[in-house]
Amino acid sequence: MGYKSIIQIVLFITSIVIIVAYVQPSLLTIKETQDEIFVYSDAVEKASELNIKLSSLTADEQSFKSTDMAALLAYLPSSIDVMAVMADITSIAKANDATITALGSGELELPNEDAVFDGKVIVSDSTPHRDIDLSVSATYESFKTMLRSFEKNKYPLEVVSFTLGESSKQEGDIVTSADDATGKYELVLRTYSYSDVNNQ
């Protein structure tokens, strides 16, 4: 075996060693790095889109009138001030010539999970609420205007139950029309508050 042949063998073996020990692992590492670059690039793109969208939304939020924001916060406050709500109900009744005979607040009811009732899936409204029992004595017209005031209130006073009781009109009472007879009305009013826990 000549000198040249030995050189050739050495070169060949060196080449193989370089390929196996450096080139191939380096290519694998480069591929992994490229995959990583793709992931990062995708993340950067999404993060950028999110930032642009957030900026746009923040700008929209800033564009809201402060009165509208105040109206929203009044309509759906973070918590229910029961005493203030009952005071409002009393004021509304008084303004409409209705006499409150009983007014009581129930417990705060937190939103339930979706349930199945009578074969139907009932989707939870995800909004905490509180019921208030109200008994009033009023003429029919007064009662109607009081209901209208409840409907137009700045926060919801939803009538979830309403019973028209007997009229106090007795035989012999002189009333000009049925609207003048004082009746007893039992109502359950519901008011809501916002909770971000169940609104995600």
Binding site: F12, L50, I122, D125, S126, K144, V160, T163, N199
Partner: protein, 230 residues
């Protein structure tokens, strides 16, 4: 003329011009291939090294970009916008379910005939959001009761209501002047939908702009949520 051979007995060949032996050029393919392979390997290693360096620099750049994007993201802004969106959705949901009882009472006023009256009314909202209505109606005779029933049925809200507990009573007042009275009582029940008696608000001028903005934010935040979940 022939040259003299001299004294030597060895015959001499005629003098010829000296010429170099013609060399044969051997091409060693294996050697050539080995060199090409070796230098090719070296070149490939250099290229791989350079490309790897470039790729690493690119990765560092992407990481840096992500860090910049992350730093520019404001978590507080996001939470505030999401809360606003959620609050508006809840408010819209409540508004969508709001009904007008006064419109129901007005309808009953219109549809109740003079010779009949409603002496009891029960309204309740069921757990599934249905609105249950029960009316106790009294009329002087069956003709009035039939007419009243037709009047109720002619209205879209009470169309298809169930008439039950029909009760006929007759009484006579005692005294010098005897007066006979008769009553026909019946119960009208129906499960209403929110769309039967919806609460509608007359929009004031100038409020439309803000409502459009609200819709934009609700839809936009919805799309952001979707992207995040993806």
């Amino acid at each position: 003329m022939e040259k003299n051979q001299g004294t030597s007995f060895i015959p001499k060949s005629p003098v010829r011009a000296s010429s170099k032996p013609k060399g044969t050029r051997k091409v060693y393919i294996l050697t050539y291939a080995t060199y090409v392979f070796f230098f090719g390997t070296l070149l490939a290693a250099a290229v791989v090294f350079g490309y790897g360096f470039s790729v690493n620099a690119q990765l560092a750049s992407e990481k840096s970009s992500l860090l910049i994007e992350r730093d520019s993201f404001n978590q507080a802004d996001m939470e505030r916008v999401q809360e606003l969106d959620s609050r508006m959705k809840s408010a819209f949901s409540i508004l969508d379910r709001q009904v007008s009882l006064t419109s129901l009472l007005q309808m009953l006023e219109t549809k109740t005939i003079r010779s009949a009256y409603i002496y009891g009314l029960e309204y309740s909202k069921g757990i599934d959001g249905s609105l249950n209505l029960a009316l106790q109606v009294r009329s002087g005779n069956f003709n009035d009761a039939l007419f009243q029933r037709e009047e109720f049925f002619s209205d879209s809200i009470l169309a298809g209501a169930i008439i039950s507990e029909i009760d006929y009573t007759q009484s006579e007042s005692e005294g010098a002047l005897s007066i006979k009275t008769q009553d026909v009582d019946f119960l009208v029940t129906k499960t209403l939908d929110v769309s039967d008696i919806p609460y509608t608000v007359a929009l004031e001028s100038g409020s439309l702009d803000s409502i459009e903005n609200v819709d934009t934010v609700v839809s936009d935040v919805g799309s952001v949520d979707t992207q995040e979940s993806e």
